[in-house]
Symmetry: C2
Subunit: 200 residues, 2 copies
């Protein structure tokens, strides 16, 4: 069974792919609006992880609607969730894609699809959606990352990663400048995967 794993180059989507590797044929898919070189950025990580990788370009309209949401809300939650939902839908509309996975963890709040969103996508688009990390808590995942991945961590503005937030930040930077980003996005630590550890 081939599974398409939504891949940001971060530790969650990487670990998600590693956990499925013994049982599925893995393909990593990075979504991009083409605003930043997201695909190239994480292609190196995908290569280090030894998985095939491709970039899926999303409609500009999705980014614009997400922008409206974050400007309206004053915080990124629903905008990021919206991009994630549309990314899964876009990938699901590829007739060759039957299984889609991501790096959602038990304790994640964003981006998370609700169980009714998941069932709606599965029923409408004829795919099955997997969250391999969904049954794992933070501590167990940290231990697995420690065992299997070499990563670098740092504040979100300094780590090169291709998650939905990166391009949304860039879109806002282009329209409103740096200050607006600090206002809208809480500072948090991001991770970027360098490679597998040799145990993996």
């Amino acid at each position: 069974m081939r599974v398409s794993v939504l891949f940001s180059g971060g530790k969650d989507s990487s670990l998600s792919a590693l956990l499925m590797e013994p049982f599925f044929e893995i393909e990593l898919v990075t979504c991009s609006f083409g605003l930043l070189p997201n695909g190239e950025l994480v292609a190196k990580t995908a290569k280090e992880l030894r998985f095939p990788h491709r970039v899926l370009y999303l409609e500009q309209e999705i980014l614009e609607k997400a922008y409206d949401k974050i400007m309206n809300d004053g915080f990124p939650k629903s905008a990021i969730n919206y991009i994630h939902e549309k990314a899964v839908e876009t990938l699901a509309s590829d007739p060759d894609v039957k299984l889609i996975a991501d790096g959602t963890r038990r304790d994640d709040r964003v981006p998370v699809l609700s169980i009714s969103q998941v069932r709606s996508i599965e029923d409408r688009l004829g795919i099955h959606y997997i969250c391999p990390l969904k049954g794992y808590g933070k501590k167990t995942l940290s231990n697995l990352v420690e065992l299997y991945l070499r990563i670098e961590e740092g504040p979100s503005e300094s780590i090169q990663k291709a998650d939905y937030e990166t391009e949304l930040r860039e879109f806002i930077r282009q329209k409103h400048g740096e200050e607006k980003i600090k206002e809208l996005f809480p500072a948090h630590i991001q991770s970027h995967v360098l490679s597998r550890k040799e145990s993996a």
Copy 2:
């Protein structure tokens, strides 16, 4: 990392162990009130799966409280959930146990621990709890079972299995006879794992 997997001999707990096998050291643990030879029954399945296996005896009081619940409710949900919670707690109180896993799936309703029950057990008892199948829907799990396990399926009264329901049914049979069981437990299909398929 060694993980203790709550094991009934059914396809969910078996698949749960298989999915973790490449990353964890697996131990299967079957809970029993000693009312039926649950341990012996599934020891054979555990051996076929090539995992170490042991039986954990639970306090009789847990079965009695579960009995009170089902007699009071008229259906098994809260009684089964109660036994499951107490089984996890009993296993968690073993100082050698640090990680506990079970076969809970995305679409399961019983037995399921709520996220607050999970966090409470993790915090109080210093263990981490994993549900490897929690991010998988029914169809994907059926495909994995088909690929990796040889099973037999049938109505719950005819399939030899060591889940919480089996002994609760026996307890009620001893007190009230066969008819009462049919009244309290909806008829459903159970599975019993015979062995791995050679692909596994």
